[in-house]
Symmetry: C2
DNA sequence: GGCATTTTCGAAAACGTTTTCCTAAAATAT
DNA sequence: ATATTTTAGGAAAACGTTTTCGAAAATGCC
């Protein structure tokens, strides 16, 4: 930080014009002559000028910066295999539109112990994307009620645009597929806690009901989302039943790994002895042997749409309508569900 | 953005003191009386004051913001399972120290087509962490030669502090382990391109040489890092040899999955018919059956140290010494290497 | 009570922009 | 030739802070 960065003033003295002229020339205003524009730009380039984001933000109230709220219970937002795909896609299209991305930090590690909203105001984010958090957190609510443009992912707030994966339809297809393979005794390891998993569970029940399949209460057991060890336990519980299921649904692919381990430990084979299905369509689902039957969520599209919508909102806060966008997933049959008869 | 945010001036009129006094009161300067301090703070809280980062940055030349350069060839930075663990850990300790994190965007999606350095200067990052990029990129070099505090991860630049995973020793232990299990015909799928994979390869050669094991040239085949399909092909090439290896090393756990698929496709069993080893220690390594023999890198520690060192550098640019920190990994024996004899 | 300190506070400049008006000159019209 | 319009550029305020320096008020000391 020894030498100062070159500023508009430096260019202005080098060019013999005013600061205003330099600013307007660089921003291509119409009230500056063509040759002065070119001259100013040349000198700016020669001097190695780079604009100062802080000064611009201070003056214009625009930062070209989007806040990302991406915290889950385990504080593992970035290592969450589904959400980091969403985020990566979000980041890509945000950057293509000239926006940077910075995290709104959570947990106890806050700057100055600021709330999410305070943090967003402090940094002057033009907009905020919320995903992968505890949506019942009052601080999230505070943020959602603010007048900062917000897009939520995989959760719907009244009066805010959101983009959600179609868990209802995805689960419906998955259940239908398993049913079509002949399974009637199906169990569900339910990853309680979020509207996402709740939607999946509800759809699970509803679809089976429509198909005329009844499932005993003990076929539905709760286990935290994305927790292989808990899924391991839950699976054992199911396998210990006097009449165990022929197929087990997991709340996510990762949890399915826990199930696989429990099953293998009993020297049972997948899918010959018992079938399983995951959800998410993570990379590993394809790579496992046997390939996991799952629903692959279109994380790329979700991130892209979220970014596009948020930027629309930023550029036109009043004129952009609030909407709920549902992104379809696709059933990936895999090999982990056996065809019965 | 309807209503203006409350500023120091608002507090100053509400309190009947000057702006300077308000600023000093909030920043706890010693030349403000205790009661005025308290009064100012009360009013500030009541009014819902939040500082303005842009104004502070403009005045102080500090942003409390760290730039993250995290781009790989496939532009999959965030979905890279090793690096997102590193980043997650980096983020955590940075935030604990009052720093935010924003990405320096790469690819063709640059704001105003700025170079990495320009972007960093534009945003006024207090420091930058570089990882997971093409380190031979001239733009990276430009950034590294600048006077912005920089810490690099898994790559060493002269005169910059770096924190690297000990790939040399890790690979040495892994080779030694495989050797101890009785393997003498070992092959290597080399993920060319980075100093990381280069170090692993070199260590592979060196350790075998020390052990008196010679390996034919065709036992080393190149394949891109983290590419399951390419690893699939590479594995097939190795299995087609008249005298195939008894154990295959992969450049990373992910690539190992490609190998597993190739092996399984031939109805060979792991490890009974052929042994394999990965590198990285990703979550999946533990979850595969059989559990993958690998070296687990201490991604959490790497991220934490990188953040700590960068912040040291930021807070004391002259007084902090440049160093290369090597973080040990740990051998995870797993079950994918068979004991011969 | 007078002097020297110490404490407490404020005026003002500065950081690097953008933008609103305003003016002077140049171009055009009459 | 004069009147009118257009074009090109500048002065200055403003955004919200921090910080320097100086001044006034309070306190200490004899």
């Amino acid at each position: 930080m020894a030498e100062r960065n070159v500023s508009l003033k430096d260019i202005s003295v080098a060019c013999g014009v005013s600061i205003a002229t330099v600013s307007k020339a660089l921003n291509n205003h119409s009230d500056i002559g063509q040759e002065t524009k070119e001259h100013v730009r040349e000198v700016a380039a020669k001097l190695g000028y780079r604009p100062n984001a802080a000064a611009q933000a201070l003056k214009t109230n625009r930062t070209n910066n989007i806040g990302v709220l991406f915290v889950d219970e385990a504080n593992s937002g970035l290592t969450h295999d589904y959400f980091n795909h969403v985020l990566n896609s979000f980041k890509k299209t945000a950057e293509e539109n000239g926006f940077d991305i910075t995290f709104i930090n959570g947990g106890k590690a806050r700057i100055n112990n600021m709330s999410y909203l305070s943090h967003a105001i402090y940094r002057g984010f033009d907009g905020v994307v919320i995903a992968c958090v505890d949506f019942s957190d009052p601080e999230v609510e505070e943020l959602v009620k603010s007048n900062i443009p917000v897009v939520t992912i995989d959760h719907i707030f009244y009066n805010r645009t959101s983009v959600v994966s179609d868990n209802v339809n995805g689960m419906k297809e998955l259940v239908q597929y398993v049913y079509d393979q002949g399974h009637r005794r199906v169990a569900y390891v339910h990853g309680a806690g979020s509207s996402v998993t709740q939607n999946r569970l509800t759809s699970f029940y509803k679809t089976l009901q429509e198909l005329g399949v009844e499932i005993p209460d003990e076929y539905v057991v709760v286990s935290p989302y994305r927790d292989t060890d808990a899924a391991f336990e839950a699976t054992n519980k199911l396998l210990d039943l006097k009449e165990p299921p022929t197929c087990i649904f997991y709340p996510d692919d990762f949890a399915a790994l826990g199930g696989i381990n429990a099953i293998r430990q009993r020297n049972l084979r997948i899918p010959e002895d018992i079938s399983i299905a995951g959800y998410d369509g993570l990379e590993i689902a394809k790579r496992l042997a046997p390939r996991l039957t799952t629903v692959v969520q279109n994380s790329e599209k979700i991130g892209e749409i979220a970014a596009t919508k948020l930027i629309d909102l930023i550029n036109n806060p009043k004129g952009t309508l609030v909407e709920q966008i549902v992104v379809e997933g696709t059933l990936e049959p895999g090999e982990s569900v056996k065809k019965i008869i």
